[in-house]
Symmetry: C3
Subunit: 179 residues, 3 copies
């Protein structure tokens, strides 16, 4: 009832793949992001006040780079993976997101949690994210108080400036805030 070396290695590599994803979005590492998804990646994020649906690696990278931009400060943590190998080169994963998102210009502060259901595929020896979706579990929205100071903000320099961002509005639907 033990896993094989290959299976244990796959668990390690799939975890690291997802860990890289979170680091890459919060530091706007677009070159790294570009290596993490299959060409046909599909996305469905069901947030409290929004829904994101998109398809394809280029659309995903554009969405991420233009969402987590120079007026955004994000802390995205992926916790507590439950990974299942479903084939030699296919796997599924459940993850628990913890996130804090601050729009530094408007001062809107969103925090919460979500449960992901992912699919992974190995291509040319490397695991990639083939599908990712989540449902929000908790989401809380408030404004930064006058007393509250953002004293480090990596994306201010690393993130895309307003004129560099792509229009991604067709990928997001915004809802009323009623829970």
């Amino acid at each position: 009832m033990a896993y094989t070396l290959q299976q244990l290695s796959d668990f390690e590599d799939i975890r690291t793949l997802k860990h890289r994803y979170y680091r890459a979005i919060d530091t706007a590492d677009v070159a790294l992001l570009d290596t993490l998804f299959t060409d046909d990646v599909s996305v469905d994020y069901r947030g409290g006040g929004y829904r994101v649906t998109l398809t394809g690696r280029q659309e995903m990278v554009d969405f991420l780079a233009s969402s987590f931009h120079s007026d955004f400060a994000g802390m995205h943590y992926g916790h507590m993976p439950e990974i299942t190998l479903t084939g030699d080169d296919e796997a599924e994963g459940i993850w628990y997101l913890e996130d804090i998102a601050i729009f530094t210009d408007s001062g809107v502060h969103t925090s919460g949690s979500a449960v992901y259901k992912d699919r992974y595929r190995r291509e040319d020896g490397r695991w990639k994210i083939a599908h990712t979706e989540y449902d929000r579990i908790v989401e809380v929205v408030r404004k930064l108080t006058p007393d509250e100071k953002v004293t480090a903000h990596y994306l201010a320099k690393a993130g895309l400036k307003p004129h560099e961002r792509k229009d991604i509005s067709h990928l997001i639907t915004w809802f009323d805030e009623a829970a």
Copy 2:
């Protein structure tokens, strides 16, 4: 000085067991919770303002389902396991809890951390939680501000409604808030 395949597999499965626990409590997945504990599970949670002690799987599942109910929004994250195999079918684990708990009716918001000491036992080939206890490290209590909106609340639908909850008051002792 390397672990065996079996030992490495046990580390994986024990982690996943605990990961499932956190997902199950925050989404009120009682069917999943029911599979995670030994029949003789024992619990001792030493919080800042409370202490929980109980014994037995049914009492544990009742406690969890009636604590994390439809007027509660919880984010429970289990971090940084230190797992030790103490027998072929026995293990111990230290985990670091990060949690945010919101009573959505009263607006009481509790956040903090705790260090768990767990024991696990394998029964019929599956690892289960046989004992779990924690000590609070930090706990902070405040009220939601008028500006602060809960914009997603999964347990509002999935959690037990008031008339469905069991009386678990005998399992909890509440203290004064003096630290």
Copy 3:
């Protein structure tokens, strides 16, 4: 393309090393801290409002014990490791820090994230931290509100009292808060 048993074991042990580090600093477990670093450990923490540089195990343990003292409440979580084995007894690791730090006397509350680049070395069969550095990604500073109560504070008892602390001011440079 699978890892060996030794490599998988090293991943496990390096993770556990770092997990112990976080538990030890938040509970002022100086005896445990003393076992986690090489004698020549080097540190460079580039925070939002501070920079810490130091060298040597004793200086590191002194710094940690006198930073996380009886008037400090800390929650430090190390997430999402990306570990690379660079030799039989050498490894590198990227980690993502999530932290909340409360000075309980002044009420200053700092929260944020950072990305670590660590190096590890195996000595006498045990992995130790040989180098650790981080860059802040996000840092937010505020004061506890009058409504906000610290209801558990482990370091109040376990942490060093004022007269027990060493002068570590030469290890820290404080900056203006301008982001």
